[in-house]
Point group: C2
Amino acid sequence: MKYPSAHIIAIGSELLHGGRVDSNSLFIADVLAQCGVEVKQKAAIGDHPEEIRSLLVSSAKRVEVIVTTGGLGSTLDDCTREAFAAAFGRKLRLRQKALEMVRAQLHKRGRPVTPLIARQALLPAGATILDNSVGTAPGFYLQVGKTHLFILPGVPREAREMARVHIPVLLHKKLMSNGRLFWTHSFNTFGIAETDVQGHLMPLLKNYPSIRIGLLASTKGVKVTLSCWRIEKSGRPGSKRLGSFPEGTELGKHIQSVLGPWLFAEGEEEIEEVVGRLLASRSFTLAVAESCTGGLVTHRLTEIPGSSAYVDRGIVSYSNQAKQQLLGVRPSVLRQFGAVSLQVAQAMATGIKKGSGVDIGLSITGIAGPGGGSKSKPVGMVCMAIDGPWGAQARQFQFWGNRSEIKFRSSQAALNLVRGYIVNGEK
Amino acid sequence: MKYPSAHIIAIGSELLHGGRVDSNSLFIADVLAQCGVEVKQKAAIGDHPEEIRSLLVSSAKRVEVIVTTGGLGSTLDDCTREAFAAAFGRKLRLRQKALEMVRAQLHKRGRPVTPLIARQALLPAGATILDNSVGTAPGFYLQVGKTHLFILPGVPREAREMARVHIPVLLHKKLMSNGRLFWTHSFNTFGIAETDVQGHLMPLLKNYPSIRIGLLASTKGVKVTLSCWRIEKSGRPGSKRLGSFPEGTELGKHIQSVLGPWLFAEGEEEIEEVVGRLLASRSFTLAVAESCTGGLVTHRLTEIPGSSAYVDRGIVSYSNQAKQQLLGVRPSVLRQFGAVSLQVAQAMATGIKKGSGVDIGLSITGIAGPGGGSKSKPVGMVCMAIDGPWGAQARQFQFWGNRSEIKFRSSQAALNLVRGYIVNGEK
C-alpha cells in the first residue's frame, strides 16, 4: 500500500537571495515523521503570489500533506494568504477569532492593532485557525481533496511551536497512516573523525539492512542518527525510540561499546545539558576562566534554565593583566611558558577555583586566530585545565577551522572535559 | 523582454530527514545573480531516480537555468547521473576525460581507481565535463532546449568552487542577459518593530517602483534589504551595490534619515563589528560585566579578529558574591535595590571600569527566565549601564521570548548601547 508523503514549502524572497537558509523544515520533517508521514520534497520560493499559487496546486496533486512556512506577516510583501485563496478558490474573510488572537498577542507587547496588522486575521473561508501562542500571525489548516495543508508563519520559534502543537493532533484525527512508525535514535560523539565513526559502524550495520544510518559532522562533533520505518498492526502512528524494539536495543548496545570513548550523549541532549545535569545532581558549583573562547563556554552553560544553581561565575581574562589580577596567575609563569601553555591553563583553573570557592574550576587558553600563531604555537592550539575534588589535570588540543569554529570546538572540548572529569572521577 | 530565471535543486536524502540543510544554494544564487539570472525556486529532494527525473523535467519547462548539487558520488545511492539520463533521453557513457580527472584526484590522495569510483566518469553523451579541482566527482553541463543545466557535486567546498569557476563562463557564452545587473543594499536596525519600519519606508518607496524591499525581523533587529534588476547598455552582467546608482544613492539618504535613530549598520556588518571598529579607531579599551547574558556579549565581541586589541576582560558575575568580590558592588545596594536594578547595573559598570582601568565599562543584569520573574520584575526585564569618558548612564529594557532569545536581545541592546555612547558622546 501507499503511505502518506509530504512537501514542505518555505516562503520568503530572503530565502532565494537574502543569504538565508530555511531551517524550519528540519523540525517540521521530524514532526511529520512522528505522524508516519515521509517528506518527499522541500522547496523555497519568493513572496510572489503566482509562484506560490502554482506550487501549491502542483504539490497538492502529488502528496497527502503540505506544510508551508512564511508569508503570513502583516507587511505588504506577505502574500501567502492571498496565494492560497487563489490556489484553491477560497475567499479570504476577516475571522473574528483570529483577530482576537492577534489583539491578545499585541496586547502582551503593549502595541495596538493597526489596519496593517489586522491583515493577519484575513483567512480562507472554512479554514481551521491555528493558534500562535508565541507570535501575532495565526496559521491555518484546510483539507483540499485528499491533501492536508498546514499554513504556518516563518519565524522559527512560532513555526516550531505551532507544528509541534497542531500537526500531530490534526493528522491523527484526519489521516490514518496504518500503524506506520518512524524509529529514530541518535548518538552524539566528540573527538573522532566522521570516516572513523563510519569505519566502526559499517560492520555492525551489515546485520540491520532495514536501518538507515546518517552521519552529521559539525563543530559539535559527529552525530550518528539511525532510523527506519516499521509497521505495527497494533501501533498508532507515532515515533518510537530505536532502542525500544529488539534489534534497536541490541544494535544500540553494540554502538555504545564501539563509540564509548567518544560518546557524550544520546538523543538530542547537548553537551552543556549533560554537564549541567551532572553538576546539579551532585550539587557541584563551577567557575570558568576563559581566554580564547572569550565567554562562549560560560554563555553555553548559562543557556540552560536553572544554570544559576551551579554556575557561580565566569572570567574572560583576555589580557595578561586580567589573568594576574583576577586569577592570580604569576607573571613569572606567563613569562616562562607564555599565555597559551598547560602551565598557565593550570594556574587559571586553580586560581578561579580558589578565588571563587567553587567545587570545580575550568580554564581555556589558546590561539583562535587568524593572527597570533607561530611555528611552535600555531593557530588552533588550545590548552585547557580543570581543578576539583579529584585533583587537577590539563590537556592540549590542536583544532582547525576559522576563528569562530576554533572557539566553538574549544568550548565543546572544554565542556566534554568537565563531563569526563566527573564521570571518570567517580569510577 | 523576459529575463532568465533559475531553479536550484539540492539532491540527497539526508536533506529531507538527516537534520541537514542545503547551504550550497546560498552562493549558487549569488553566482547566478552576478550573471543576471534570478533564482525563482530552490528545492531539496532525496536520492530517488524517479523523483529527480520528474523534477528535472518539470523545471526544464519553466526556467532557463537549472543548477543541481549532490548525488554524483561513487556510492550506490548516488543516482543523479542516471536520473538526468532518463529525464532527457541521454545515454550514459564512460568518458575518458572524466576518468582521467577522477584518477588524478585519487592519485593526490594515494588511492586507486575502484570500479565503484569509476562510476563517477559515467556521464551523459554530449555533456560538457566540468572539472572538479578539489574533489573526485566531475560535474557536467548540458543545454536541453532553451534550458542550461549545471550538474554539480554536493560537497560544499567542491560545489562552491565549481559554481564560481564554470557557471559565469558558460552562461556568458551561451546566454545573453543583456547587461542586466542585480543591485542590492541592506540597512540594519535595532529597537524598532517590523511594521513601524514598513510604516516609515512605504511612503518613500512609492517613488521607486522598480526597487523591491525585503524586511527580516530577528533577535538582531529588523534588516531592510532593497534590491532591483537594472539594464545597463554598457554594463556586462554583474552585481553592484544599490548605492552606486543615482536613485539608489538618493533613496539611501532618505532611508538613513527616517531610520536614523535605529540604524546601526549598512550592508552585512554586524553590531559587534561596528562596536569593534569604533573602539579600535579610537584606541579605546572595553571591559564587560555580565549577569543574565552569561558571557554572550564578550563572546560576540571576541568573535571579531583583532578584538584582543580592545577587549580587556569580561566578568560573568552570576552570583551576588561574584558581583561583590569582582566588581565591588556594595551588599547594601544589592539588598536595597536587588541584583536586577539600574543601581546595581551602574555599580557593575563603574566597578569593572575602575578595576580594569579600561576606557569604557559595560554591564548587563536582568532576568532571562524562564524562572526568577516577579510582578515588579518580570522575566525579560534587563538593566544595562555604561561608564566611560562621557560619564555614566543606565537604561532599562523589557524584552520578550525564551531564555535564549532574551539573552541574545540583551546582548544586541548592550552592544548598541556602546555604539550610541561613542557616536553621541562625540557630537
